[in-house]
């Protein structure tokens, strides 16, 4: 089969944290995927450059970040009160508010609403929250067809792939792959791979769906407690289609999405588009409040989702995780993400935010390798519009995971754990440290080659010498030199 006739098979990534392989393992096939690494690097270079230019021009950028962090912290400290206020106002405006304890609860509530509406198809605005609760497969199994309407989500849905980024989910797919998927699944002959042509194909494909499907599902970027308003931020217009044309609208939103007042959008909207897509403002932002007679859906439901968020509130250091406004600036700047893309993280939330959010949503039962999937360079903290100190949380989660693991028999004899305990003992007394250095010098002699370097190390060290040499231990440590110098001086 020639390359042209080959079907594009998008990576079947496992994004269920309960099933995904650990990060170091999941990263391996990705590191060997040249095309994917090229696509990812290109995409994030473009967004990063645009973002940097706009941030440089915004003289009050740091003040905006500080205000956003303060507003979000305030909301989180008063989360119950604000959620109740939102519920009251949204209900007064004609909406129905539901609460979901976890993913299963949310799926059940949504399906019940769909059954009540006798809906057997839904159009969807992109929402990572619905991917988090694995909504689509659940609805499909229950006989409800789901149609993604966001261009990236269509690419993934038709190509049977998984998102690898929270703002540009198909950034790992290139134009010829998109062309092949669209031509095959939309039944279009002679489709060019020019993005313009591909976009036009998507526009035509969806037009009738927008006009005919009476039920839509969305996420929410923000919920406004003061008014009961819901805000969706987008670029393509599919959001506006879904929230204007259907009869029934269901919005699924994490409980941390609430803001106190309408006016707080003046901070968030200035930060979000610049951080997410490197624009001063994204093309379309929509706000609606409950039901407006004569304009838009006449039935509106909000499903407020907990699914582990309330447990994150409890820890002071980790609470700031919930400030996240899902801009993806962190993953765009992350040097690790740049090499691995999103699928290696085994979650719908990849990158730095995924590395702290996913394990916490799973309450550390799964995704324990994610907090270690970072070199702690701090670039993410620098760009986060709501100032989440991601490195600090990564380190704290590492401690929590280690505390959990070190109790288990298996880990007691794990070489890393043995080495860490030994190192601590060695560092506890100078004479022990010095003795260990001497032993290390002697012991490593047979590993040291003629050029004075070690080229191959055992055990934990083998991962070092995968690609690096290590200079042999010098004959004299610094402290031995110093001691000799002191003696010589006397």
């Amino acid at each position: 089969m020639s390359a042209a006739a080959e079907q594009t098979v998008l990576d079947r990534a496992e994004l269920d944290p309960a099933k995904a392989p650990s990060f170091p393992v999941a990263a391996l096939p990705v590191l060997r995927n040249v095309q994917l690494r090229k696509n990812v690097a290109h995409a994030i270079d473009v967004i990063q450059a645009k973002r940097a230019r706009l941030v440089a021009e915004k003289t009050d950028w740091q003040a905006l970040r500080a205000a956003a962090a303060a507003i979000k912290d305030h909301v989180l400290e008063n989360l119950g009160a604000y959620l109740e206020q939102f519920e009251e106002r949204c209900t007064a405006a004609g909406g129905t508010v539901h609460w979901a304890v976890d993913a299963a609860d949310a799926r059940k509530i949504i399906l019940e609403i769909l059954r009540e509406e006798k809906a057997d198809e839904v159009i969807k605005i992109k929402t990572m929250t619905s991917a988090e609760i694995q909504l689509n497969p659940f609805l499909e199994a229950a006989g409800v067809r789901t149609y993604e309407t966001d261009l990236a989500e269509i690419i993934l849905q038709l190509g049977e792939g998984e998102p690898s980024h929270i703002v540009v989910p198909a950034l790992h797919v290139n134009r010829s792959q998109v062309r092949e998927i669209f031509a095959r699944r939309m039944g279009i002959e002679n489709l060019s791979d020019e993005p313009k042509a591909l976009t036009a194909a998507a526009r035509n494909y969806l037009r009738q769906k927008f006009l005919l499907v009476p039920t839509a599902i969305s996420g929410a970027n923000f919920l406004i407690a003061e008014t009961g308003g819901v805000v969706v931020v987008e670029s393509e217009g599919n959001g506006r289609m879904c929230l204007t044309l259907p009869r029934t609208m269901i919005t699924l939103a994490g409980i941390e999405k609430v803001l106190p007042r309408f006016q707080d959008l003046e901070v968030m909207l200035q930060l979000l588009a610049r951080s997410a897509t490197g624009e001063r403002m994204n093309p379309y932002t929509s706000l609606w409040t409950g039901v407006t007679p004569g304009d838009g859906p006449q039935k509106f439901h909000v499903v407020l989702l907990d699914n582990g968020r309330s447990s994150i509130l409890a820890r002071k250091k980790e609470r700031q995780t919930l400030r996240c406004i899902r801009c993806a600036a962190c993953m765009n700047t992350c040097p690790v993400y740049r090499q691995t893309g999103g699928h290696a993280y085994g979650s719908v939330y990849p990158g730095p935010i995924g590395a702290i959010l996913t394990p916490q949503l799973e309450q550390l039962r799964h995704a324990q390798s994610l907090p270690f999937a970072s070199s702690l360079c701090g670039a993410c903290y620098e760009v986060c519009p709501v100032k989440i100190n991601i490195p600090e949380i990564l380190i704290d989660l590492r401690a929590q995971v280690t505390d959990q693991e070190r109790k288990t028999a298996g880990k007691f004899f794990d070489p890393m754990y043995v080495a860490m305990r030994a190192a601590n003992l060695i560092f506890s007394r100078a004479w022990l440290f010095h003795a260990a250095q001497k032993m290390g010098r002697i012991g490593s002699r047979f590993l040291t080659r003629k050029d004075g370097w070690m080229h191959s190390l055992p055990s934990v060290g083998a991962k070092w010498t995968l690609t690096r040499d290590l200079r042999g231990l010098p004959r004299q440590t610094f402290h031995e030199w110093w001691a000799a110098r002191e003696r010589g001086a006397k």
Partner: protein
């Protein structure tokens, strides 16, 4: 002016020449150097790998050891960052108020090398001579943790004979990340390859930094690849003069 040297566990064991150069440099600048024999490690490796209990032990030792030092100079940004950024949280968790007070009193007296030279001694020209083409790698802890900013450049520009070649993508992490380099060895290696592209493109003879940890990773990769560039800690460049050229490892 007296300075107490915290050489760091890995410099003591693997890069003693950095320590020797630092002593030479400081003494040339008229600083009286002392070295407390009881020192071992600041606890960063344990803290960053999740072994917090162990990190406590090492942090306590360090604070007790240096409680009365006039100034502590450390040729490693990551260790200074550990002390400034993580020690406060550790001591708060420990709940030892006396220790926390000792730490709070000590921390203003802890300096990374370039901070000590520029902020404390007020010098940029340390009388160094190093006639080579050099590129500077900004380690993440120095860049974002300590906000060293222009300090390393100001020092390097005053070194006679030194030709400074700028490094592209200066702010991008080299991929060392402590135990990340082995726990995620393959990803670390991919990041190393990308970083070496930029380093080698400078056509410098030496890659320098204020952290031997990054240099161990970069240098280890270049040595494996027979790359024809060496690494050298900035202390060794600054210590080098016509009469006393630096010790450079093969």
């Amino acid at each position: 002016m007296q300075a107490s040297l915290f050489i760091t566990c890995y410099n003591d064991t693997l890069f003693p020449e950095t320590g020797r150069a630092l002593v030479r440099l400081l003494e040339r600048l008229g600083v009286e150097v002392e070295f407390r024999a009881g020192q071992t490690c600041c606890g960063q490796m344990h803290a960053n790998t999740g072994f917090r209990r162990e990190a406590f032990c090492q942090a306590k030792r360090l604070v007790r050891l240096y409680a009365d030092a006039e100034a502590v100079v450390i040729p490693s940004s990551s260790c200074v960052a550990m002390i400034r950024d993580q020690y406060p949280g550790l001591f708060e968790e420990l709940g030892d108020e006396a220790l926390r007070k000792d730490f709070a009193a000590l921390v203003p007296r802890v300096y990374e090398l370039s901070e000590f030279l520029i902020d404390k001694l007020g010098v940029e020209d340390v009388g160094a001579y190093f006639p080579h083409r050099v590129t500077y790698h900004a380690s993440c802890h120095g860049l974002r943790g300590l906000h060293l900013g222009e300090r390393p450049f100001r020092l390097l520009r005053k070194v006679r004979g030194l030709e400074l070649a700028p490094l592209a993508n200066l702010e991008r992490c080299c991929g060392f990340g402590g135990t990340f380099s082995v726990k995620n060895g393959e990803v670390s290696s991919a990041m190393l390859t990308v970083k070496l592209e930029d380093v080698l493109a400078t056509k410098a003879e030496f890659c320098t930094a204020l952290d031997n940890s990054c240099l161990m990773h970069l240098g280890g990769g270049m040595h494996r690849q027979y790359a024809g560039m060496k690494t050298i800690h900035m202390a060794q460049i600054l210590a080098s003069t016509e009469k006393e050229p630096p010790e450079v490892a093969g």
